[in-house]
Symmetry: D2
Subunit: 312 residues, 4 copies
């Protein structure tokens, strides 16, 4: 992830300018405001703006006239209660805005979350940057045999080298042909004065899904936690998970009390189905239960055993 | 609209506390932050928090690395362009949060806007305040004969006095019976130690729709403008329009460039249907057009003539 | 719940008219289409239209070319998998539309669900019906002492009688004054030719929150299940729960496979927080755990013990 | 657009199966139900399901007990009124579901409409088909010089041939390498038994944005019209416009009255800004107005002259 000198200067200028505000302000998040946090080989996230703090959640839940915070302990109990009982609306009262640079195939998963606001760089309007994702060798894994949607064991070094060279060559060639069709290089310089260039909105279709794009992405706290609970999950594809994990750190800086409740009541917990709950009750009553007598499918059984710490 | 001493102190404390921030900050809005702006007889709005400024709209439209603003003139042109061509997503990048006190029948119109976040005071949890809306005499009007959804001429003084006395007496009696059923007064003091009190969630059903409620309401700029374009419109009921107009002032303080574009391209403009456009073309070509030859309904014709300044 | 002869005839006519369709069709739901299902004293729900069946969920999950259903057993397994892993989008592919008649205080809870489409009868446009909710005596309960948002023990017969008489008298008087202010009775007949009538949009504010209103309400299956999981829950207020329970029956008729998965994975299950899960593991390992050593609050402890069947 | 024999058989079977229903049914839409309507070189749309008819809009607006339709003439007037005054909620009461096959770069524009439900074929789960978009020669145009987001004049035959050959070769090569990395051909047959295959979720990133994908897409009528007003607009990129135009035909079949109102009040009309309206008033008053004295920008002036039929 390399920024141009101009981009670095713009970010530095943003960070230097300060103002006085009456709004709820979170110093730990201000510390990293506007800074790029690297993700993958060329991507990043950076927090551009935010609204509210832990107190804002409390304040909305109480519909109060003054600042939200009574005592930190009371607030933590209330936030835990709200999280536990799915009183989600007070968590909509905080907002955060990110600038994200990410490969297009990741962007396509990400955009499925419809409760956010997005402004993406336009390939109709601008020439897209020449940057594409190449996985680190340790992330090149074979198709999982157990899970139709996941990765299994790592490729051998030779296989990995072959994959990387195919990915690199195709991305390079496709980008070169993109410039050729545009009849412009990536800085906008004309190539062959005797030719027209194809419209940008068409030429871009020659790029691969590994190409990086970028967007501004704004979301409220409730929907951010929903996004993170799905995308920081081990079942999520590694590449989007890398972004979700970087965002988890920004959430912790921003709203430490809400973050702790999120860990306790969402991420660290488990949902038991009616049959799984019945199995737990039988086990607690001292009964012997196995897959067959549980009424669960093999997969459900395995997941339950894992959840209650009985992995064979 | 009277606040208790405790509420006044809480607001004063909020206004006094300041912090340093790197975020986009709007001094003209900070000036009135947390202050109550009176609406109707007991209602108010107050701005509790905000995110973004005019530059944030520009920044998102350009997906830029630094602050949004180049030159004020460029930004105004871009914002006008976005507004004119319905590029609405950059306007979603700003957020504002209000604390609003309003009669329940107004709240029921307001809540139809689903793209906002709301936390309302709970009548299951709390005893509702003894405050109800009584229209000023000049707002007591007869049913319109021309418009099934509006008001016509003002009532006579005697009729108005009768209406106000009915509204006041019923509101007072219903509230007194609410306390009676709760077996508590409005400050939570028990009334008759020998009786149980009815659950709050049931007793509240005896209150009239004129009773005031309050909520925290957060919305993005795009959806705020949509709300205002419908609710600050002359066809909106006077009572919700009074709130919308107070919010217009806060919008102007917050985002003067966007506000001007909103006036120019939304509020001050007009939408012509295909047939209305054909009429305008014929008139410009010097043709004589009347209702019959226009193909418009009488109501459409009247509205068109009004729009183009040809009211008879 | 009484319909006029005209309304009954309109419903009968709707039920008689049939057509041939290539769409997915569910006979068990067709059986009750348009029929009113009574709820509370004057309310009802009735299913007006629907789109999709269990196969539509499967079809969307597979993005297939033909009908969704392979074998019922496969489909049930897939639907269970989708429900368990929170793959919610295929459940958005079915829609249902209800006509609902309900008290305004229930409508105010209901409308908080923003992911539905609503058309409510307009008190600006029409004179509202003279119908208000009076709870059955057995539902008149005192405020709960354990739960600030709920009901406790039933009122005595004398207390209940007092409450009912207050509710009835205030509703009657408020409605009579509503007619008086309108200067029209509820059928639209003018009262005093010498007077103007107050505009409907103002007069309605004199009605109590017990007054019935009605609306068309359309929602997709995913959001319907979310609504039902919150509103058919024992923590929901009885009155809205009565509607949710009637809707549960329509869901079971419509989509029996999805309904069973919803019971198994949502309603019948339980979510354990990180600390609650740790307690279960310790109990399964034979350890003695009490409230103090659990790290849970008293309320969390009580709820966990209840979930795992260890109520003292 | 070629379907396999199996796909054709599945569609034929869907079309043959019929049922009796009490629901509102639209024969003109039933006629084409499930049929593929070709778009671009390999794409299609097909209507999979629908809910409601013109009468359902009317019925919701009136919150009536029986079928929506009184007299066709009344209904048309009401629908026109609703459209003209932006009473959008009754239009949410109808739903339509499409199965769409489309290039990924088109899918990325399409998905920006967040008020729809989508199930896309998963490149984590399945091997994507070997189909990519090659524009017809007449659609290969140079970048517009007047509009940074559009196309200008057509490429010369030689330039077009060069572009097509680059697009074809890169798409073919990228797909071949996709199979190579998967170590499977597109039918799932293993290639080299001595090698592992890369996980599908990674290999897909080598495909270009011209690759076809497919999804189920469900939307309500109000949001469909919003989508069509933006995507059937001449400013939209040709490729997505081709889909929007095919969908316009299905809308006309489905809801002829609403379609006519949509044409009259949305597509065929024009929005005048405050300044543009002032210009029209001055012109109608016989005044001479030119760009300079109009207060409009050159672009706004040009667009206004075009709208009122005064193109020089």
């Amino acid at each position: 992830m390399e920024l141009t000198a101009e981009q670095q200067a713009a970010i530095a200028a943003e960070r230097e300018a300060t103002a006085t505000t009456r709004r709820a302000t979170v110093p730990a998040l201000e510390d990293i405001l506007y800074q790029t946090i690297p993700v993958l080989d060329h991507g990043f996230i950076r927090v551009i703006d935010y609204m509210g703090d832990d107190g804002a959640v409390v304040q909305a839940a109480r519909v109060s006239y003054g600042a939200g915070t009574r005592r930190v302990q009371d607030d933590a109990a209330l936030i835990g209660y709200l999280m536990r009982h799915r009183h989600t609306t007070p968590f909509e009262m905080c907002e955060i805005k990110y600038h994200v640079k990410l490969p297009i195939f990741v962007a396509r998963q990400w955009i499925r979350h419809r409760t956010a606001s997005v402004n993406e760089i336009s390939g109709r309007y601008s020439i897209l940057d020449k940057e594409y994702y190449l996985p680190a060798a340790e992330h090149l894994a074979a198709q999982s045999t157990a899970n139709r949607q996941g990765r299994g064991t790592a490729l051998t070094a030779a296989e990995a080298a072959n994959v990387l060279s195919l990915l690199r060559e195709d991305a390079e060639r496709c980008y070169a042909h993109y410039e050729d069709m545009l009849n412009q290089d990536r800085f906008g310089n004309p190539l062959d004065p005797a030719r027209s260039g194809l419209a940008r909105e068409l030429a871009r279709m020659n790029l691969t899904l590994a190409t990086y794009t970028q967007w501004y992405w704004k979301i409220d706290l409730h929907n951010l936690m929903h996004f993170l609970s799905l995308r920081a999950d081990p079942h999520a594809q590694y590449e989007i998970r890398a972004y979700a994990e970087a965002m988890m750190d920004t959430l912790q800086r921003w709203l430490p009390v809400t973050f702790a409740a999120f860990q306790e009541h969402r991420l660290g917990g488990v949902h038991l189905s009616a049959k799984a709950l019945a199995v737990v009750r039988r086990l607690l009553a001292g009964e012997d239960v196995d897959t067959a007598s549980s009424g669960l499918s093999k997969r459900e059984w395995r997941e339950l055993m894992q959840a209650i710490g009985r992995t064979p």
